[in-house]
Amino acid sequence: MLNRRAALAATLSLSLGASLATVALAQAPSGKVTVVTSFSKDVTDPIKKAFEKAVPGVTLEVQNRNTNAGVKYVEETKANNQVDLFWASAPDAFEVLKGKKLLTPYKSKATGIPDKIGSYPINDPQGFYSGFAASGYGIMWNDRYAKANKLPEPKEWQDLAKPVFYDHVSIAAPSRSGTTHLTIETILQGEGWDKGWRTIKEMAGNFRAINERSFGVPEQVNSGQVGVGIVIDFFAFSAQASGFPIKFVYPSVTTVVPANVGIIANAPNQAAAEAFIEFLLSPAGQEVLLEPGIRRLPVNPTVYAKAGPDYPNPFTDPRFQKMIGFDVDKSEGRTAVVDTLFDQLISFQLDALKGVNKVLHEVDAALAKKPNDKAKALAEEARVLLAAMPVTEAQAASPELRGAFTGGKEKGARQAEIESQWASFARDNYAKAKAKAEEALKATK
């Protein structure tokens, strides 16, 4: 223990010395700059190449981790940090890092980048992280699969709840994928808490699978195991660029959010980290984003001149201007609650949810042939039971729930306890809904 403490003290003084030295040499970045990122090799390789060419003397060391694991890694290693930058899509992850004081503010000198994309601010107001690319959320599908299974082209989230899409849709779990979390939050903010959850559950009744990795969804759609996926746009664009028979649409309730980069607190090579951010935001760095393997939306509007005519431009495309204003604070305050609700009410109850939904689709089909008021009323009762939530919007953001989910210091309810309650709530409601739905089906006959 004593040894460990001595070692720690030695490190501290060493790193203090190192950071002083860094300040002195801030003008000429050199050496190794380490970045933890969730981006794939197809994204990082071209950028690494272009960056090392633009800033000679600096090598970019890429550590590939998924967003959640990356955040945990930075947290676990903060005592002796060796990482300079965090680079990922989900703004939430940066909020978490910022909240834990694991980021250093840095204001880029880049010019020509507007304050907002759609209605979303590009940079963190306090300067802890900067947006360098944008992405929107939407629906991708496999054209061969759709033709073979006679699926229509979806346009809105609600379309995915239609009977024809039963068992054909895939999504990543929001608790596992920062971007999917934002999609869910977007729907909740766009349609309101109750209606939003209803839409989500009606879609979920058609889900084929709930994936553990963001990339699991495009992978399944690309290979044709599943027809339709709820994804972030560049998954579809890069699959198209690779030659897969993929199509993509932005629904009207969606949002476009920046992917970000931020400097880790006590970065061993601050100067090079700053140089990397400057490069990413420079026109040369922004142009790399247009490459087929990347296909992200640059945040510098002038760069779009070099993109093809079909490339979506969030600065001119009217669809993006209509996108909803996304409230980051609201999202951040209830992140854990929303994710856990999704897991307990949908992920872990998917079979039950699908079971009810299947019967309801049959009722709809029967009603379309022969209207029946009693069956219609029963089916609506079943739908209300399905859509019911154990907590209101206000409760979801309450300090009690936040305390239970964030391991706050005060003794309160335990997360496992609350989860157990929500799970039984869902189980009971789905069982009742199933009974109603079956009654409705009988009434149609």
Partner: protein, 571 residues
């Protein structure tokens, strides 16, 4: 369990020489440092109350009360048990046919039968989906021709299917080693007494090979019990390991349930290991004559040969389907909703060889060192447990076996937490060095080597050592000149298993890799498989990994065969 008591008249051995005590202490220190301490720092959370740091069992109470967790526990037991059954169905014929008969290409069959174990994570399930998935080649063709599909990959049955294909080599390799060690004299005695055919196998041969079979079966059980990649890739979440993983990585330390589940996993695995050891306890499997010598190999009649080769080919075709899928994928341009790829190309290999030689080099170095550490520790622990009366020697065995049940992420986080604060001269944290990855791999794979060494030693009669000692050899010399050579087959089996599986390990590695230049193959694969354009190169890298490890395996089989021939034991 009817145990045959060991005669008490056997001469009592001393409680342990100073050398043995020192060895035991050294191993215990190693395990404490690199297994118990890192894991304890993590599971400590399971026993503390939220917000305070007081000891509590309330988290376990929550576990028992949560329907999801109890369902997961039951599902995990069910899937593991069924996987053992199916793995035995695949492994028994292969092991028996290749060791019992003069079988052309036995080494090739053994090697091919070993391949599924070294299917790297992610790629394996992707490749299986391409063939057996809902819209995989087989189902698309079935649907086209007959208008129906088969749910190979759905739900718990899908997990059982994939797992038994993936892990049956554990049984194959251990059972084959055991069969090779069965004393021919036993068999001949039985034959002289009129036993033959299936009765001979059932009453004499199989019981004598029991330690090997149980060693393999318990490994399969425990591996399936704590494997998370397969259920997750098939989107099955209500099993214990995925639940632990999901909670540890997505909620983190704020919630103790992930760690509670880890504790349950560890306890269940140790229990399974203990039960299998218990089943063998008090029975004597050792044979004196040269420590075995293998079954007399018989020549098959033409009818038997057709039947035998037919079964072998059928099983191999099934268990190697994922590799064929991987191979196709590595040459495919686009493969989407069609029985076969749209076109073929060699571009993926060009890209992989251009970028990935460092991964290959690292993998070979890491896996070799890890495998080496494992067999040294495995032999030492097996010897201490089976041949000495040291107090607490079984704890070494349990500790080492428990490593099997520790989720890779838990070990990874534990290493970061324990070793990151320790800095080397120059400010680099201990956890950032590549040797940490090697140690994690060695700890993760130690149980494999240990089981193999343990089974090998169980089959060697103590009287051989006693004879050596009576003739004046020291304990150390006896071990060196008698025990280790007789265990060679088992040791090699243990090394190959540890080496090959360490070469494709991902979950602990992913947490510990600090730079691309230190990364092993599995990490490279993971990085490739994150994008649409990386699927092909990822598959190509997977093929490289499989070929590499298969070559090493084949080599070691040749060595076993040759050493047996050299000792006049082979056919």
């Amino acid at each position: 369990m009817t145990a045959i008591p060991i005669p008490a008249s056997r001469p009592r051995r001393s409680a342990g020489t100073p050398g043995q005590i020192a060895l035991a202490l050294a191993i215990a220190a190693f395990l404490m440092m690199f297994l118990v301490l890192p894991v304890a720092t993590v599971i400590y959370v399971a026993f503390t109350e939220k917000g305070t740091s007081t000891f509590t069992l309330v988290n376990f109470y929550d576990f028992v009360r949560t329907e999801l967790f109890m369902r997961s526990l039951w599902n995990s037991f069910y899937v593991s048990a069924m996987a053992v059954v199916w793995a035995s169905v695949f492994a028994l014929p292969l092991a028996y046919l290749t060791t019992r008969f003069v079988f052309r290409g036995a080494a090739i069959v053994q090697t091919l039968g070993f391949l599924p174990l070294i299917m790297p994570p992610f790629v394996g399930a992707v490749a299986m989906q391409l063939f057996f998935g809902r819209n995989g080649s087989i189902n698309l063709l079935l649907d086209d021709w007959f208008g129906f599909k088969i749910d190979f990959m759905e739900g718990l049955n899908g997990v059982i299917f994939v797992q038994s294909v993936h892990y049956f080599p554990f049984i194959l390799i251990n059972l084959s080693a055991a069969l090779r060690n069965v004393d021919r004299a036993m068999e001949e005695a039985a034959q002289n007494l009129g036993s033959s055919g299936f009765r001979l196998f059932r009453r004499i041969v199989f019981p004598l090979a029991m330690p090997g079979y149980l060693a393999g079966a318990s490994l399969v059980f425990v591996k399936v019990f704590d494997d998370l990649a397969t259920p997750l890739l098939l989107n099955v979440k209500d099993m214990l390991a995925p639940q632990a993983y999901l909670r540890v990585t997505s909620i983190g330390i704020a919630d103790p349930m992930g760690y509670v589940i880890s504790v349950v996993l560890i306890v269940a695995s140790v229990l399974a290991m203990w039960l299998s050891a218990r089943a063998l306890k008090g029975r004597d499997y050792a044979t004196t004559q040269r420590g075995g010598g293998g079954l007399a190999k018989r020549v098959m009649t033409p009818m038997e040969a057709v039947f035998g080769y037919g079964i072998v080919i059928l099983i191999l075709a099934l268990v190697l389907a994922p590799h064929l899928g991987l191979l196709l994928l590595s040459f495919a341009t686009i493969w989407s909703y069609s029985p076969l790829p749209d076109g073929f190309t060699t571009a993926h290999y060009a890209r992989v060889f251009g970028e990935s030689s460092i991964y290959i080099k690292n993998t070979l170095i890491y896996a070799t060192i890890a495998g080496g550490i494992d067999v040294v520790l495995g032999v030492a622990i097996a010897y201490l447990v089976l041949r000495t009366k040291l107090i607490g020697r079984e704890w070494l065995d349990w500790m080492a076996s428990a490593a099997l049940a520790i989720p890779g992420v838990v070990l990874g986080i534990g290493y970061l937490r324990t070793f990151y604060g320790i800095t080397l001269p120059g400010g680099t944290p201990l956890a950032a060095l590549w040797i940490t990855i090697v140690l994690a791999l060695a700890i993760r794979r130690l149980p494999y080597a240990l089981r193999a060494c343990y089974a090998a030693l169980q089959q060697i009669s103590v009287s051989l050592e006693e004879a050596a000692e009576n003739l004046g050899a020291t304990k150390a010399r006896t071990v060196r000149r008698i025990v280790v050579p007789l265990m060679a087959g088992g040791i090699l089996a243990g090394f190959v298993t540890s080496f090959a599986t360490a070469a494709v390990e991902l979950s602990a590695t992913l947490m510990l890799v600090q730079s691309n230049s230190d990364a092993p193959l599995a990490y490279g694969l993971y990085v490739f498989m994150q994008s649409a354009a990386g699927r092909g190169p990822g598959a190509a890298l997977g093929v490289v990994a499989v070929i590499l490890v298969a070559a090493c395996t084949f080599l070691s089989h040749l060595i076993i065969e040759r050493s047996q021939k050299a000792r006049g034991m082979g056919h």
